[in-house]
Symmetry: C2
Subunit: 309 residues, 2 copies
Amino acid sequence: MLDLYPSRVKENPSITKRKDPVIHNSTSQDGPLNKNDLDFYEENGYLLFPNLFSSEEVEVLQNELKRNMDENKASNEPHIVREAKSDQVRSVFDVHNNDEFFNRLSSHERIVNIAQQLLGSQVYINQSRINLKPGFKGNGFYWHSDFETWHMEDGMPNMRAVSCSIILTDNYHYNGPLLLIPGSHHYYVQCIGETPENHFEQSLKMQNIGVPDNDSINWLLEKGGRIDSATGPAGSVLFFESNTMHGSNSNISPLPRSNAFFVFNSIENKLVEPFANIAPRPEFLANRTNIKPIEPKSFDLTKKAFALS
Amino acid sequence: MLDLYPSRVKENPSITKRKDPVIHNSTSQDGPLNKNDLDFYEENGYLLFPNLFSSEEVEVLQNELKRNMDENKASNEPHIVREAKSDQVRSVFDVHNNDEFFNRLSSHERIVNIAQQLLGSQVYINQSRINLKPGFKGNGFYWHSDFETWHMEDGMPNMRAVSCSIILTDNYHYNGPLLLIPGSHHYYVQCIGETPENHFEQSLKMQNIGVPDNDSINWLLEKGGRIDSATGPAGSVLFFESNTMHGSNSNISPLPRSNAFFVFNSIENKLVEPFANIAPRPEFLANRTNIKPIEPKSFDLTKKAFALS
């Protein structure tokens, strides 16, 4: 397959134009998003919906997150990621496959319908996780485009995926919210360095390959004109395009941050062999088997699963 | 001398009430600050004046900062502090003593009159520095009360000092601005741990003694109700009380931060022997010789010094 977005091959970084549409064959007739929403996403590469989930729903989601993390407390399976300096569980991956509640959540029409509209097709989950980031000593995460990694290490052919972060704690400016460079999704930053095998074992904690250079970040910021922060109350939901440059600062505040995170990929954009010429990353980071389009479901999150018809 | 604020002696941290007034014998008749300003400072422990210096003055200040840092590029004197991972100068201390321009700046009536009013007496400079904090990889600095260190390691007897930070680059929420816990200056957090000799050599980079515990920070935040960020355009000036709990997150944005920093101490609060039973820190961190009250001066920063009468 033709590599539309080569990276990690040249000695010097470079910036090329995006080759895929941002919104794929959709109009405001095709889903819940209106023209303003679509225009904002096209221009800025993200959409933030304050209070898309109610406080009652947030309470359920927070409890389920804690329940899942408690269940995994003693596990040493690779999809459970812990804090470097303590034993605390920081992320549980693949929750749409290994947890009944989060499997249901991943099909909730309130988020799936938006993903379908943005990607102009049926969708499936390429990666999911729940995150609990501690206060006081919360580490930041440097600027990166998810797509660069998904393309090079997972074999995602096109920019036709969207990340959905359901924010489960209030996000303030000072507790390490996600920062985004508006408009950065229109450009592809070709990074330097060769990808080592099993790079993911290191890169989940701190990325050093697939990291954009300073000049490219400066250039994107000059184009975009500003840095936006995904702040908002618990229950807000952030959708951001696969190639939007994002990162976060550290968090010395006592206020921890938690979220549920789903990457929706177009059913027409299934993974092929990684473009970095390495073995594919594990299934919990990039689903490639048993791919089926999600059937969006309407249900009340605050009711037990057995109450469903 | 009686130690009003013991710290680093007990096995467990504790919080006591402040024993000094916040505003010392002053009213709105005594200086440039009005009643609202004084009330805000009394309640919150800081005051931020947007654009106290004009953009023309900021340009002069920025150039003088660069000039001074360039002059000190090759120096290996201890008052020049460099980045851990590069050779770049990060801070130059004692600029009110070793640099003609910053000596003049430290006597500018626009800042000295405010310090005098807050401290209710004549003032002198206890510590000064200019800072250039890089973008992309700027480190944060954990919560601390300056007074705790000044008391224990420098022998400052009372809470009767104020820090003045002249902000020389635009401070945004996302480039690591100073964070403050409003009202925290009313309480003294007694820290644990014993102070090693020459602790300052380490603590200028990362503090590990005199660091407040998590429970105390939580308690202060609950009392204060919020965290405030010192954001604002270049030329803004932040005054914050010696005991106000403050810190900063990291800065992944490309935008560096620079400032000129003066600690004004009351002439009635001169340093004695350190309360931690260690040798006093060097003069460049804590002035104790040739202390004379500052005579506030009115002059035009954008005019050369020789234009003064």
